[in-house]
């Protein structure tokens, strides 16, 4: 009862609940501390990025100054550690561009077909499951695509390339006169499979957002399903799909190990795309890093900076294209979107789920209708619908005449095509799973899980990946321990406190990190932690690289989920006299928790399969090392075991490689399934 304001003190009404309270009090320490902490997390993120950029630029300039060749045009070899140093980044950038263009040309139409099939043709109940299956393609780690690519796709591509070369050989890029298969074309095909899920997932979400009124308007004009799609769905989704394609392109640019494993390295401007040879920036970093000395490392970092800048610009372009905040920027978004009461499920939930959800769908729904409806309705629906109605009227005067035969055929054909693209997209998934299971089962046994590769020759049977399981779990575990608290704090800052320049800057850098190629994350840690601060290439360094990759995922998904917590809950809490920091920690975060957990699990699943950054920052060993902080000893992880053993000619070793791949896929699939179960179990409106 320390009443400072004279009359604000009052007798304890019931056991003194509110009695000790007076209207005045000093500054609220809890609130000050908490807001200080979240702001510090945000500032830390900015400082980290700035420091990293500094180290990278320093290393790169040193190497560029030492280079005696023209960095843009030099071809033939990569010799930065020779005297005089000679290396060229131009041909690498060219190879990066070519593979990514091939990938996007193949992936974009297939992905749009898949998205249309899932969102427009598949039965509703099935649609979600089919979407998850396509998402699984995104969950397969690149090391496994690489393994599949070099051991399955390359041999098969040789024949196919020969056929294409025979028929189209008169076009210079399809000209062939040497070994085939390990070509930019094959690399492009693999990349197309890898980026298909992100394009398909984002497009699907956009298509599902098509305002109901526009769909019904099209049907009311007598449109067939395909005509409706052309009238309503495609115009509505145009920008979103465009941005998805650009994002997919950005992914392809930064993909590392799969390309490194498939391409047979040459340092020239590739012009014959079917023929073995070529290189990309990312692949070159992975390939050359092991043998690089000081200038060599700098040269690789310089090339990594080029890649970084290019992917950054591409991602910026993707954001410009959408121009709208509610367009997903990531394939994970689709999974997290089940937590949004306003979408997809809204129709079924409206009546039963009012109180808490009401704010969100109301706001979203009306905004969307206001922004989109008039524009599209005015220029697209009205403009194009009229000819259709005229055509319809010409067929017969009665309303009951079905659409003319050509129209029906066209609609059925279009539907069939989308089914076809879906099946096409499934083929690689089935092929990969089949190969991994079929080849992986030979070496798979309890002792495979409990033994390391210490003193095991390639030709010897036995041994296992116990050491790599430990490395994988420890590194991704440590990364989670660091990334989750920082990530959630930054997200809390952005949603609950963020205003002004700091918030804008943080949002921007999270976007930058989101599109960061993983090999560049490896370079970050390499240049700052290992080369800059002289730390060891141990498991902890790997964990730091994975942290860089996980942070944006955790921040983004937590941010999304915190934003979904209706303001009415915050107000209810404030109105009870609960301070802001307790409102956030006890009401807002618990409400958002299932979504946050799902986002974290997806982040963990992603980093567990990472190869490229680990190659750069963790020494590879064949024996057990449980200490990720040990000074001079590295650690193996499942992906690096695969990467270091797949070239072996020995049968015994091959069996182990596939078994490691099998194990890796199982772990990642299990994590994905658990994340999905949490999402499904805890989604709003279910309780």
């Amino acid at each position: 009862m320390s009443g400072i304001a004279p009359t604000a003190t009052r007798p304890a009404p019931r056991g003194g609940g509110g009695s000790a309270q007076s209207l005045t009090s000093g500054p609220r320490r809890g609130d000050l501390v908490f807001s200080g902490v979240v702001r510090a997390a945000a500032i830390f993120l900015l400082l980290l990025m700035a420091t990293i950029a500094g180290f990278l630029v320093f290393r790169a300039t040193t190497a560029l100054n030492a280079n005696h060749a023209n960095v843009a045009t030099y071809t033939g070899q990569w010799a930065p550690d020779d005297t005089p140093a000679k290396f060229g980044i131009g041909s690498l950038a060219w190879g990066t561009l070519v593979t990514s263009v091939i990938a996007i040309v193949i992936a974009a139409p297939v992905a749009i077909g898949v998205a249309l099939f899932i969102s427009q043709y598949a039965p509703r109940r099935l649609a979600q499951v089919l979407g998850y299956i396509i998402d699984l393609l995104a969950a397969v780690p690149s090391i496994i695509y690489g393994l599949w690519g070099i051991l399955f796709l390359v041999p098969h591509m040789q024949g196919a390339s020969q056929v294409v070369g025979d028929v189209l050989g008169w076009i210079p890029i399809f000209n062939t006169n040497g070994p085939l298969g390990r070509s930019v074309f094959t690399a492009g095909v693999i990349l197309s499979i890898m980026i298909l899920p992100i394009i398909a997932a984002i497009s699907r979400e956009i298509f599902l957002q098509t305002p109901r009124e526009q769909v019904e308007a099209a049907y009311a004009l007598g449109a067939t399903r395909w005509e409706m799609i052309k009238l309503a769905v495609l115009p509505y989704g145009r920008r979103g799909v465009g941005s998805a394609i650009v994002l997919g392109f950005g992914r392809a640019l930064g993909e590392t190990v799969a390309v490194a494993m498939v391409l047979s390295t040459t340092y020239n401007f590739v012009t014959k795309w079917l023929q073995s040879g070529g290189n990309t920036i990312a692949a070159n970093i992975a390939l050359q890093f092991g043998s690089a000395f000081k200038i060599g490392q700098g040269a690789l970092i310089a090339s990594g900076l080029v890649l970084f800048v290019v992917t950054f610009l591409v991602n910026l372009l993707a954001r410009r294209i959408t121009g709208r905040a509610d367009i997903p920027k990531d394939e994970r978004w689709s999974l997290l979107s089940v937590f949004r009461p306003g979408r997809r499920t809204a129709a079924h939930m409206e009546s039963s789920y009012d109180a808490n959800a009401a704010d969100v769908p109301d706001r979203e729904g009306t905004l969307q209708a206001r922004d989109q409806a008039p524009e599209v309705a005015a220029d697209d629906t009205a403009g194009r619908a009229r000819p259709h109605r005229a055509a319809h009227g010409a067929v017969g005067d009665t309303m009951l005449v079905s659409p003319s035969l050509p129209r029906r055929i066209r609609s059925t054909f279009a539907g069939g095509m989308t089914v076809g693209t879906f099946v096409l997209a499934l083929l690689p998934l089935i092929s990969i799973l089949w190969l991994v299971v079929n080849n992986g089962r030979h070496a798979m046994s309890p002792s495979f899980l409990t033994h390391s590769l210490r003193n095991i020759d390639d030709s010897q049977f036995g041994g296992g990946v116990y050491h790599a399981i430990i490395g994988t779990l420890e590194q991704s575990g440590l990364a989670t321990l660091i990334a989750v608290p920082i990530g959630i704090l930054v997200a809390v800052y952005l949603v609950e406190y963020g205003r002004g320049a700091l918030a804008t800057a943080v949002t921007f850098f999270v976007d930058v990190m989101m599109g960061l190629p993983s090999i560049v994350a490896g370079l970050f840690i390499l240049s700052m932690w290992i080369l800059g601060l002289g730390q060891h290439a141990n498991g902890f360094a790997g964990a730091l690289a994975l942290t860089i990759l996980m942070l944006p995922v955790v921040i983004r998904s937590s941010e999304e989920m915190l934003k979904l917590v209706p303001d009415s809950l915050r107000e209810a809490s404030y109105a009870l006299g609960v301070p802001k920091w307790k409102t956030i920690t006890k009401i807002v975060i618990p409400t958002a928790l299932p979504g946050i957990v799902t986002g974290v699990m997806l982040g963990v699943a992603r980093v567990m399969g990472e190869t490229a950054p680990i190659l750069l920052v963790v020494g590879y060993i064949q024996n057990i090392n449980v200490n990720p902080f040990s000074g001079d000893e590295g650690q193996a992880t499942l992906p690096t075991v695969i990467y270091n053993t797949y070239t072996s000619p020995e049968h015994a070793s091959n069996d182990r490689t596939w078994a490691a791949a099998f194990l890796l896929i199982v772990i990642i699939m299990v994590l994905n399934i658990i994340a999905r179960l949490i999402a499904w179990w805890k989604k709003p409106g279910r309780a």
Binding site: I4, A5, P6, T7, A8, R10, P11, P13, R14, G15, G16, G17, G18, Q21, S22, L23, T24, S25, R28, D354, A355, N356, A358, R499, P566, S568, L569, R570, E571, A572, S573, Y574, A575, L576, G577, V578, P579, K580, K582, T583, K586, I587, P590, T591, L593, P684, A687
Partner: protein, 258 residues
């Protein structure tokens, strides 16, 4: 514990726009005061200035004076968080905390501000639920989620949650507008009971409701879109409905506009 509120020359802003202008009134303890007026005239805005919830909205600010008994709520050194412990609020849509059980919802205000003693909490939860006429319906399912109740029960849960921190004043912004007639009656009965202990302010669009539950009624109006809302008059409810001083009040009550 009910307290008296004095408002003098109060204006409230959203960013640069003034939503309400120069409002002065006295709200007596142990009475129910109803706010009526056309949509957008600033009833909710004014209500939220009485427990400093207005300033939760970014860019929003208040000018003028609100005193609770003799303490200026906007005086320097006054903590808005403490103000809200004294002036509770019930919202238009029931908003129980979805992650919490019925029990935890009622206990939330106390728990989150530091009262942890189990026996004490049990007592207060029971008293509050009884006070909100909800105890009989939920006594066997206190551990169940609050979101599992019907809309009317949820609203009474929110009232229980508000009175559990034993405020002096209870603000209610259209507490029945999302409810069916039976739940509405239940809430109205509850308001009549609560007024023996609390100062109650209720915003409503329902004239009959204002006439039924309130002792005094304040009529707010705007002269046109974009202009700030003003208090037209405040008086005994019977007088406002039978014989208002202002023409605008009569027009509004008899349904000639609004």
């Amino acid at each position: 514990m009910a307290k008296r509120i004095d408002v003098a020359g109060l204006s409230a802003y959203y960013g640069p726009t003034r939503a309400i202008e120069d409002i002065s009134m006295t709200i007596e303890p142990r009475t129910v005061t109803a706010f009526i007026g056309p949509s957008g005239c600033g009833k909710s805005t004014f209500l939220r200035t009485l427990n400093r919830m207005h300033e939760v909205i970014p860019g929003a600010r208040v000018e003028g004076k609100v005193t609770l008994d003799d303490v200026d709520l906007y005086g320097s050194g006054v903590d808005p968080v403490a103000v809200r412990r004294h002036v509770g609020m019930v919202f238009q849509r029931p908003n129980p905390f979805p992650t919490m059980s019925i029990y935890e919802n009622v206990a939330a205000g106390l728990r989150l501000s530091g009262v942890k003693k189990r026996g004490e909490l049990d007592d207060i939860v029971e008293q509050s639920l009884k006070g909100a006429n909800l105890w009989k319906e939920v006594e066997n399912r206190l551990k169940k989620p609050g979101a599992g109740l019907s809309g009317g029960q949820q609203q009474r849960l929110c009232i229980a949650r508000a009175i559990a921190v034993s405020p002096d004043v209870l603000l209610m912004d259209e507490p029945c507008s999302a409810l069916d007639p039976i739940s509405t009656t239940a809430i109205e009965d509850l308001i009549s009971q609560l007024k023996s202990e609390y100062t109650i302010v209720i915003v409503t669009h329902n004239m009959q409701q204002a006439a039924r539950v309130s002792d005094r009624t304040a009529f707010f109006n705007i002269s046109g879109t974009g202009t700030p809302g003003r208090l037209i008059e405040i008086d005994e409810t019977s007088r406002i409905f039978a014989n208002p001083t202002e023409k605008a009040t009569e027009d509004y009550i008899t349904g000639r506009f609004g």
